[in-house]
């Protein structure tokens, strides 16, 4: 059973195409790639072998805990009025940390507005992410410093940027790869489908990482699709795979494979990380209006952190001292974030005119001068 796709046909030295990718026909059963069960049992998958040292497992655990703590702190800061809005990643830590840690330094991530865990893995200062939710900027970090693009709010638009960037990598003859993050809702967007088309025909080294968290604000995934999302890929001629998005090891292994597949000249891959948005869409949302508490409860049993901790404990890979140290570090992070946000100054209003263009523009320059003069008139007491 072989899928003949354009990407596959062009495939050079393949790093091995797992059998799960062949399950793209209409009669195939969707297969969830899982390496760590919700109970913390390590299981093998024939297509995605993964060897990890205890240090690596502990580092992943630390990532998950700190990312969740950062996210929780941000939610609290919004409730305290320090942030205007927050889009929580609660429940999606494994999908983000697993995929984020699969990236090499030269790889590039194009996030939505919820990829705080990926930002963490890319070593982006968490305070940078909070600036836009506080309203002091619209992002503002240098995307090229950590190869982590600005958050994109218009759903799916960044998948085209990711694809274009990946086309540039091919032109440069480099062996970097790109991850385009998006969600189940975005899978309906024209831009995402255009990105699939461009990436496919240009064989661009981009991994489309769809976090299917089951909800696009109030709309369940069934409003977006009648087939499992990973199977969309076959129509575009590249492999798709569904991974347990709450299993950090599976996300790591599958994304690592996909990035290598892409960087080796085999074209794009679609990964559907099957996960769940445990919280509201944002702090402005009220999920009690559209989903049942039982559903959320059921997903709690699949929590990404609980299962890794269970595994570490069961296998004796971490002791109490380690867990206590992570908890202490988590407290420190919370404190740093809290203090950092509270002391984040409002920008000077002339920020309005900064960077509208990179070269002088007569109307912007004129309006800046008018504003400065107007503001100064208050200081001089002339308008009182």
């Amino acid at each position: 059973m072989t899928v003949k796709s354009t990407a596959r046909a062009r495939k050079k030295a393949a790093p091995g195409v797992p059998d799960t990718l062949r399950a793209t026909g209409t009669d195939a059963q969707p297969e969830l790639v899982q390496l760590l069960t919700p109970e913390g049992e390590r299981v093998e998958h024939p297509d995605y072998p993964l060897t990890t040292t205890p240090e690596e497992l502990r580092a992943l655990y630390r990532d998950l805990v700190l990312v969740r703590r950062f996210d929780g702190e941000a939610t609290a800061l919004q409730r305290q009025g320090e942030l205007g809005l927050w889009a929580s990643l609660l429940g999606q830590e494994a999908a983000q940390v697993g995929s984020g840690r699969a990236m090499r330094t030269g790889d590039y991530a194009f996030p939505t507005y919820r990829e705080h865990g990926v930002a963490w893995c890319r070593d982006v200062d968490p305070l940078n992410l909070l600036g836009m939710f506080r309203g002091v900027n619209h992002g503002g970090w240098d995307p090229n410093e950590k190869n982590f693009h600005l958050y994109t709010i218009v759903i799916g638009a960044q998948t085209l940027h990711a694809t274009g960037y990946a086309m540039g990598i091919t032109k440069d003859g480099a062996d970097d790869a790109v991850i385009a993050y998006f969600g189940d809702g975005a899978s309906s967007q024209g831009d995402v489908n255009e990105a699939f088309t461009f990436a496919s025909v240009y064989n661009a080294p981009v991994v489309f990482f769809c976090q299917n968290n089951q909800w696009a604000i109030s709309e369940p995934t069934t409003t977006q699709t009648k087939i499992p999302l990973y199977r969309r890929a076959s129509g575009f001629g590249f492999p798709g795979v569904r991974v347990d998005g709450n299993d950090v090891l599976a996300c790591l292994a599958v994304t690592r494979w996909a990035l290598d597949h892409a960087r080796s000249g085999n074209g794009p891959v679609l990964i559907e990380a099957f996960t769940y948005r445990m919280g509201a869409h944002t702090t402005s949302d009220d999920p009690t209006r559209y989903r049942h508490a039982e559903e959320t409860e059921a997903w709690k049993a699949k929590d990404p952190i609980t299962r890794l901790r269970a595994h570490l404990e069961k296998e004796g890979l971490a002791d109490e001292e380690f867990f206590a140290a992570v908890d202490a570090e988590s407290e420190q992070l919370g404190l740093r974030v809290r203090e950092g946000v509270r002391s984040m100054p409002d920008p000077d209003p002339t920020l309005i005119f900064d960077h509208v263009y990179s070269e002088p523009h007569a109307q912007v320059d004129e309006e800046r001068a008018e504003y400065i003069e107007y503001a100064a008139s208050f200081e001089a007491g002339e308008n009182h």
Binding site: H138, G139, G140, T163, G164, V356, S358, E359
Partner: protein, 324 residues
């Protein structure tokens, strides 16, 4: 450049020079490769520069502009061709929300040197969606530069300047003038955003851009037979606008008429009239008048002549301005 070139050829030469001068320049668009574009503006370029630099894209405008943004982020300098004015709207989000704003959102950390070429405006007897003047949408968006040439010389040098600009530029090409010929000078004589006085005069100022410059020059020639000396200014840049040149002229003539194909209602003329009224109030002998398309969808081609400003409508407005 030797001899007379059509605007189409002048643009083609500008793209060729830009490809030669900067290896990071790439062209993207539908049918721009072997076909050379539906207007042949990219004729022969894929043959000479390869499929890697002159890229035939899938038929998806949002995809073209969106991937151009990604290429720009990777250090490339994409020049995008939108096949016809009416086909740019699927790319509207990528242009006004992504391309225009990304430099500011990144607090200047990234640059978006993307040029979007669009053949625009009417007068060629085309079917629906092939004759639109949508400059106001783009000019209304901070972060974009919007320019439009009216001569072969400006077509060539403005396109080269647009491609060299580190900011996104919407480059509007007056398609009905593609085959008009003119001398292309050896160098740019104006900045990308300077207006050009194309005919000096003293009695009133006609302000136009793109396809309407020719109409205004013809109107000025006709008016001269009646002893009226009309100054004609080719605006060239719609954002930023060179108000200094306009102001100097209108203060001198005391009368101004703005002419464009786009509907008058909320068009470029509205902004120009408001600003000129503010800046030249005590010099004006008449209100700033506007001549343009009607507030209606661009009509079927058999009646487009009635929709488009022509010599008579321009002169009628001049008469009204002079009658105050």
């Amino acid at each position: 450049m030797a001899g007379q070139l059509s605007i189409a050829k002048a643009l083609n030469e500008a793209l060729r020079k830009s490809l030669e001068n900067d290896p990071k320049t790439v062209l993207m668009g539908e049918d721009i490769g072997k076909l050379g574009g539906v207007f042949r503006i990219t004729d022969g370029l894929q043959k000479d520069f390869g499929e890697d630099r002159v890229i035939d894209t899938p038929l998806a405008e949002s995809g073209i502009v969106g991937t151009a943004i990604g290429l720009a982020l990777r250090g490339y300098r994409p020049v995008v061709e939108i096949q016809f004015d009416g086909f740019v709207y699927p790319a509207f989000d990528q242009i006004v929300s992504q391309l225009a704003k990304m430099h500011a959102r990144a607090l200047g950390h990234v640059k978006l040197p993307v040029t979007v070429r669009i053949p625009y405006a009417g007068g060629i007897g085309a079917v629906e969606h092939h004759s639109e003047s949508h400059e106001a949408y783009f000019a209304h968006t901070a972060g974009l530069r919007v320019v439009t040439p009216s001569s072969a010389h400006d077509a060539h040098w403005m396109l080269r300047q647009a491609i060299e600009s580190d900011d996104p530029v919407i480059f509007l090409e007056p398609k009905r003038r593609y085959w008009d010929k003119g001398e292309v000078g050896a160098a740019a004589d104006l900045g990308l955003h300077d207006a050009r006085v194309v005919r000096p005069g003293a009695d009133a100022t006609l302000i136009a851009y793109g396809p309407m410059v020719k109409v205004c020059l013809e109107a000025a020639a006709a008016a001269e037979e009646d002893g009226r000396r009309l100054e004609v200014i080719d605006l060239r840049s719609l954002t930023p606008v060179d108000f200094a040149t306009l102001e100097e002229s209108v203060k001198r003539t005391g009368r101004a008429v703005v002419v464009h194909e786009a509907p008058v209602f909320l068009g470029m003329g509205a902004e120009l009239a408001a600003r000129l009224t503010e800046r030249c109030f005590y010099h004006l002998e008449a209100p700033v008048l506007r001549v343009g398309g009607y507030f209606a969808p661009y009509p079927p081609s058999r009646v487009e002549e009635a929709f488009l400003p022509d010599l008579d409508r321009v002169l009628d407005a001049v008469d009204r301005a002079l009658a105050y």
